[in-house]
């Protein structure tokens, strides 16, 4: 005997706002992979010397690059925020008897993000 399973429509994620944002959150991963490829392109251009680097800077100023960056940034930020807000659900910290509050963990993650971002800016652009 098999149990009856109600077939799930392929458009279930359009039926509710929460489902829609869940799928958007999952699809931010396309922008993550895309930016990985872009980073490889940048590294490859830089390792080819000064001339290629000058062309790289010009291509970063091109409308295509600007548009792609402006589309990617909100998706990547959505990934960042949803990811950080999930961390206390996955990472349960305890000191002795005391369970560390979820808010504290999220706070620490955001502070680490700020510090790491400053390090990145300093490493790449720093004086």
């Amino acid at each position: 005997m098999t149990t009856y399973r109600k077939p799930v429509s392929n458009t279930w994620w359009l039926e509710r706002k929460q489902y829609f944002f869940f799928v958007i959150r999952e699809l931010t991963s396309i922008f993550v992979a895309g930016y990985c490829l872009f980073l490889l392109f940048i590294i490859s251009e830089i390792s080819d010397g000064q001339e290629k680097y000058t062309l790289l800077i010009l291509s970063l100023k091109s409308p295509i690059s600007l548009v792609l960056h402006f589309i990617s940034l909100p998706f990547i930020l959505y990934h960042t925020i949803t990811w950080f807000n999930l961390t206390p659900k996955i990472m349960k910290l305890q000191i002795g008897e005391e369970i560390i509050s979820e808010k504290l963990i999220v706070g620490l993650v955001y502070i680490s993000w700020g510090i790491l971002s400053l390090i990145i800016f300093w490493l790449i652009l720093g004086v």
Binding site: S29, I43, I46, S47, I57, F70, L116, I124, L125
Partner: protein, 116 residues
């Protein structure tokens, strides 16, 4: 209990997720706003600085993880999303393509870093 690769894939997914969540926003701001709008000042100097940085073996090792692991993050999420939106019948093919893509991405990362 049957042996499964899922814990390893999940670990790669979550470390890759954390790395991209932390580091990609500042990098996108640099490549998409600061550099194209010329807010960084002297570009020749910037080239020498970045070139010097990426030649360092320790930086290369870090960059390998910073780029390869987010590929696995993508593979894991994209795989489940495709299955969830109706491609369950070909889920094995999807897994192969997604994780295969992440492996290919890692090899490309390795190649790019080694030829600097």
């Amino acid at each position: 209990m049957a042996k499964s690769n899922e814990p390893i894939l999940w670990l790669l997914f979550s470390v890759g997720g954390m790395i991209s969540a932390m580091l990609f926003p500042p990098l996108i701001i640099i490549t998409g706003i600061i550099v194209p709008f010329g807010l960084e000042g002297e570009t020749t100097y910037l080239f020498e600085k970045i070139h010097f940085l990426v030649k360092n073996p320790f930086v290369k090792l870090l960059l390998f993880f910073v780029i390869a692991l987010p590929f696995f993050h993508w593979a894991h999420r994209f795989r489940f999303t495709l299955v969830d939106i109706g491609l369950k019948p070909i889920s094995f093919l999807i897994s192969t393509l997604c994780y295969g893509g992440a492996v290919a991405g890692s090899l490309l990362t390795l190649y790019t870093l080694l030829r600097i």
